[in-house]
Symmetry: C2
């Protein structure tokens, strides 16, 4: 099943907070509840929350009692503001809600029910396109992986981070499906442990050989020559190629460059934000400190009571550490400005 | 109380596996049980396991049924082999057992009980000296911390990692006691979480302001200019200044250098191993994979069943990333070869 799907007039999400211990799905019929689910990371991963946001707009259209076009557009604009605020760093969320909103605004249909149908169709299209885009990225990314490579991977960028298939993990998966022998070192990715919980779960099912490692160990494996490439996803790519991604990506990228290990970012063009000139302008979400003070997803307290934590959920990797950015429209290499513009326009 | 102490013919250790949830001590009267406790990290931290090893030799002397000098020396040599094998990376362990063994070998006392007494006295001396040495290191290290600094710290190097006071954390503690305003960013230090569990517990008691962070976040704070210095300890320093320390240290050091943040290693001269020309010759302990597959100390499983992990407990930081090595005999700066030789000889 898809990570994000529309089923019986509801948005169905795989609850990623309880994996791999339990596989549960939750249906949402209220866009506000869906926004809360995005904030609480029932669904996470930039492309997945993009699709979730688009379906959230379809929910809002369905919930709206408006009998006219203007009333419905007003309700949709309100829903968009709520959905966009659910998580600030990944641009895919507002990219998707923008796309739905723009379509709705351009429609000259007098009957609001026709607009409701069109909004749902556009959300469905965004979700369907995501699967197709992931496969195209995976083709480009897999070409960068050689038979016998050990690849280091951070966070989760697989089927669970997208509608299906995955971005960086999609490239690894496709290399495996092409018959290349690929071994993956899976960063556990504190504090939310997306690597230990989600990537390990996906790779196990796919039969891709891997070892889980503490994030701290990644440098040791690179320095001792055991890693041929690093593959990560992205939550937002600035116009100059600076990359906001899961906290810890920056450290990995610096150490990869120091050891001449190629550092690849796999992200759809919907993750590129041309309005942001460089990474310093990307908002960095700081999440609840409980995620660091304990094993938040398991309710286990580790640290002493009565202390504080800092918990930035993302960091920015300057473009000089990025070997290439793999999009559905091809592999972009430095200098990134013009290459990213061409990739976004697909020319 | 001291982290490692001799009480009523037993070695008394604070059980560091259960902190900060519980404060418990365990008494050991069998050196083999003590060696097991070192392996299982009831006690950890290079200087602390050095003192524990020395007291282990005193236990072995006490346990020995030998009625003559040669028999006792033979039993001590056997015990030394068992104790040294408890953990391979930190050199302080064999440094301390060597010191006790050398003393015992040089004694020309005919009565083995006199040798037993001398062995215990030497172990006690090693423990007492450790406290004094830590204070001297802390004085040198505190001078490198300015009023208002935010200092990043990895693993635990406090009183719990030594007999008392601490190495890198000792320097931070002394700067605080000198009235400097110091803020500490505490790496939680996966997989064993010595930062979240032990360093946080110590700093809270000392009243030093700090925030706990995921190891992944350290790069973000350095890149955004929020860190003035990194302070770490060491498990073994090669003759050329390469430093083996807790896994993750290497990543920190590379990122610190990239951001022009000074990277200080605080370690007694007993951590310097002149027999090892560079870091490539330092054995790196790989610990049980359960530490990575779950929150080992809390018995919590995180990752899916049936998968594997890699768990190197240490990494090597090449000397080019180290701004200075702070010893009890002064601050050594590059090039390290001659400086470390002089520090060890205290000339």
């Amino acid at each position: 099943m898809r990570t994000v799907d529309w089923q019986n007039n509801a948005v169905r999400l795989i609850d990623q907070r309880v994996l791999p211990g339990r596989f549960e799905v939750i249906d949402y019929t209220d866009y506000r509840e869906l926004a809360k689910a995005i904030t609480e990371m029932v669904v996470r991963g930039a492309p997945a929350i993009g699709a979730a946001g688009a379906f959230g707009m379809a929910l809002a259209a369905q919930q709206s009692a408006a009998r006219g076009r203007d009333g419905l557009l007003n309700d949709l604009a309100q829903a968009k503001a709520v959905l966009d605020a659910a998580r600030p760093t990944a641009i895919n969320l507002s990219w998707a809600t923008n796309r739905v909103m723009t379509l709705a605004g351009h429609l000259v249909l007098p009957n609001p029910d026709d607009i409701r149908s069109a909004v749902l169709a556009e959300a469905q299209k965004i979700a369907d396109e995501d699967v197709e885009i992931n496969r195209r990225m995976a083709m480009h990314g897999a070409a960068l992986i050689a038979d016998g490579d050990t690849v280091l991977h951070h966070c989760n960028t697989g089927a669970l981070a997208t509608v299906d298939y995955g971005t960086a993990l999609g490239a690894i998966r496709m290399a495996h499906e092409q018959g290349k022998r690929v071994h993956v070192l899976v960063d556990e990715t504190r504090p939310r442990l997306q690597g230990a919980r989600l990537t390990a779960w996906e790779l196990k099912q796919l039969g891709v050989p891997f070892d889980l490692i503490a994030d701290n160990a990644a440098g040791h494996f690179m320095y001792t020559g055991q890693v041929q490439a690093v593959f990560v996803g992205a939550d937002r790519v600035a116009a100059n190629g600076d990359v906001a991604n899961k906290i810890g990506t920056y450290k990995l990228a610096v150490v990869a460059k120091e050891n001449s290990v190629p550092f690849y970012v796999v992200a759809p063009t919907s993750t590129v934000d041309p309005s942001v000139p460089d990474g310093t302008h990307i908002p960095i979400e700081e999440r609840p400190m409980d995620e660091v003070l304990g094993l938040e997803t398991h309710g286990e307290r580790v640290a002493p009571e009565g202390i504080t934590a800092r918990n930035p959920a993302f960091d920015v990797t300057p473009n000089r550490y990025v070997t290439a950015i793999v999009t559905e429209n091809g592999v972009v290499r430095p200098p990134y400005g013009e290459g990213l513009r061409r990739a976004v326009r697909n020319v």
